[in-house]
């Protein structure tokens, strides 16, 4: 086939410049990676059994055998904190994924089809938002009884409106772009337009937001477990450990500080890394 129009030169892609990884990215990623590995492979770590009680060794201060000391039942605080962190991470990721999937789907449908569908979905989201979140979570948990699945569901439900609204707002503006009209003009069906044309443009902002929400979910879980409304014992949870040992705060602060430190570092890492991710995505979008 002969060339109809003169070739137009297309610039070669700029060489990808590797910017030096700043501490505000590498430290949080390092902590989160270590936390994930430690919780996944906790059984293989050279640590005391987190469930073994020893009434002769209660409230021991930190030592080479018990790096974070022992609690009022003589159990190793570090080993229990790692198990508690596992619950935090599972609940944080699980509830955000749940909210992401359900809220994202609702927002996509509501922003794309608009009209009556949009009205009812938005009304339902406003309804959920009008409950004080922690009160709603406490109500559900105390009515249905604590379990891991229910904690994930309850916290996830609370995230649905936020994800739905962000997805809806982005979908509204994307659906007006001419590439969506072009897709319609070629006879593409709505389902395919949603999944192939609109969804790929939504993923980046939602992931950044999701990372920040994992931190919120972890704090929410800690609050619930502090109240005894999260995963039931004997499974340790960070909030539950703080609640159980808070009476010994003066004699054995390590029993409270151990789980608190884990909670603090994890939430801080998620927030800092999530902020950085969000900033990068905003810059990229602005460059388009």
């Amino acid at each position: 086939m002969t060339t109809q129009a003169a070739e137009t030169p297309v610039a070669a892609p700029a060489a990808v410049r590797r910017s030096r990884l700043s501490l505000s990215v590498s430290l949080p990623v390092l902590w989160l990676g270590a936390a994930a590995l430690a919780t996944i492979f906790s059984a293989y770590l050279p640590m005391p059994d987190p469930f073994r009680q020893s009434l002769l060794r209660t409230l021991q201060s930190p030592s080479p055998t018990n790096l974070f000391g022992t609690d009022s039942l003589g159990r190793d605080v570090l080993a229990r904190s790692i198990l508690g962190l596992r619950v935090s991470l599972v609940v944080g990721l699980g509830s955000v994924l749940f909210g992401f999937a359900l809220g994202g789907a609702l927002g996509l449908v509501s922003g794309f089809f608009r009209g009556r569908v949009d009205f009812w979905i938005s009304a339902a989201m406003t309804l959920i938002l009008s409950f004080p979140p922690l009160v709603l979570a406490i109500a559900i948990m105390s009515y249905a009884g604590p379990s891991l699945g229910l904690v994930i569901f309850t916290l996830g439900l609370l995230f649905v409106p936020a994800f739905a609204r962000i997805t809806r707002a982005n979908t509204l503006s994307l659906a007006d772009r001419e590439f969506v009209l072009a897709a319609r003009a070629m006879g593409m069906r709505n389902g395919r337009i949603l999944l192939q044309e609109i969804l790929p443009n939504l993923v980046a902002p939602l992931i950044a937001y999701g990372m920040l929400m994992v931190a919120v979910a972890i704090i929410g879980e800690a609050a619930l477990s502090f109240l005894g409304l999260s995963v039931p014992p004997p499974q340790p949870t960070l909030g539950g450990m703080v609640a159980a040992e808070r009476a010994n705060l003066l004699d054995a602060p390590w029993a409270v500080f151990g789980p608190s430190l884990f909670l603090f570092l994890t939430v801080l890492s998620l927030n800092v890394a999530g902020d950085q991710l969000q900033r990068r995505i905003d810059q990229r979008e602005a460059a388009l």
Binding site: T3, Q4, A5, T8, V10, E178, L181, A185, G187
Partner: protein
């Protein structure tokens, strides 16, 4: 693409490819107001013809282009594509006929999905239409990119933001033409491009038209752009057509005062319109929410009389192939 297939869709000179009958488009606004963006317009485009559609921003020309593509469908009136009235088609039948008419959009960046590669974008119509395997599709995409002057090897895996506006518009043209449409609607395809690039894209469209046997509706607000590419030009004002004439005739013997004023405002040193009609259009286009009674142009027309406020002028002949909607045409 073998050339026999191309010649099979070459225009038969006498056939009408597109007929638009009394098309209106009304939008419901918040607060119960209704905005009639297009107030009943009719025209035909013969096979192989290019009809230019010009008017100021907000006159409804983009709405016409989208309504006749059923994006979304018009509020009333009929669009007949190659003898098929679109309003009578089911959703599936409409999807099936869509490849016969394609569109090139105004904003070259917005009309390409930023997350997809150029090859994916150009191949998308083939995927939707089905019937070709991956290798055949790649082959067609390569030919099409070549035809619009892009090197397939270089742009294949690029994304739209890595290309210039003119290059993006070439991708749009490739995507629009890959299914061999009969009708190509160009909605201000060059108005957001640099002047030097405008000429390249216009040449590309002219080439494509000749090569693929296209019939075109070319929407623009720039008379100079429309002049060279169109066989006939329709002038729109506030949702209505006020004059249609062959391009050469419109530019030399415009009959509607609005067309005259538009031509007078083209800063072209080659014409003497500026001196002959030393009057430039004044004021702003009235709101389509509350259009003037009678002739819609009367509020800005230097020749307006009492009759213009009462009686709406109909399109009537003003020469060969030339119609005008005015009570007091120039000739």
């Amino acid at each position: 693409m073998p050339d026999q297939t191309l010649s099979s869709v070459a225009p038969q000179s006498d056939a009408t490819v597109l007929e638009v009958q009394d098309l209106t488009k009304t939008f419901a606004l918040a607060g119960g107001q209704r905005l009639q963006a297009v107030a009943g317009i009719s025209f035909q485009i013969a096979a192989g013809e290019t009809l230019g559609l010009v008017g100021e921003s907000g006159c409804g020309k983009t709405t016409v282009g989208r309504a006749l593509m059923a994006l979304p469908p018009p509020s009333s009136g009929e669009v007949i594509l190659e003898g098929t009235p679109l309003s009578r088609l089911s959703a599936a039948e409409l999807r099936a006929i869509r490849p016969r008419m394609q569109m090139v959009f105004q904003d070259p960046i917005s009309s390409l999905n930023p997350k997809r590669t150029i090859a994916d974008i150009v191949a998308a119509p083939l995927v939707v239409a089905g019937g070709l395997n991956r290798r055949q599709r790649d082959e067609r995409v390569r030919e099409m990119l070549d035809a619009v002057g892009l090197d397939p090897g270089t742009v294949w895996d690029r994304r739209p933001h890595e290309l210039s506006g003119g290059q993006c518009q070439r991708v749009s043209v490739a995507r629009a033409l890959i299914l061999n449409p009969r009708l190509l609607v160009c909605d201000e395809p060059v108005s957001s491009l640099d002047v030097s690039v405008q000429a390249q894209i216009l040449n590309l469209l002219e080439d494509a038209k000749a090569r693929f046997g296209l019939t075109m509706l070319f929407i623009a607000h720039d008379l100079a752009v429309v002049k060279n590419i169109s066989d006939r030009v329709a002038v729109m004002y506030l949702g209505k057509i006020c004059e249609v004439a062959p391009a050469a005739r419109l530019y030399s013997q415009a009959a509607h005062p609005y067309t005259v004023a538009l031509l007078a405002s083209v800063p072209d040193p080659g014409t003497d319109f500026g001196r002959r009609f030393a009057r430039v259009i004044e004021g702003e286009i009235p709101s389509p929410l509350d259009p003037p009674s009678g002739c819609r142009f009367r509020t800005r027309c230097p020749k307006a009389t009492a009759q213009c406020a009462v009686e709406e002028p109909r399109l009537r002949p003003a020469g060969e192939n030339h119609v005008v909607a005015c009570h007091h045409p120039e000739h």
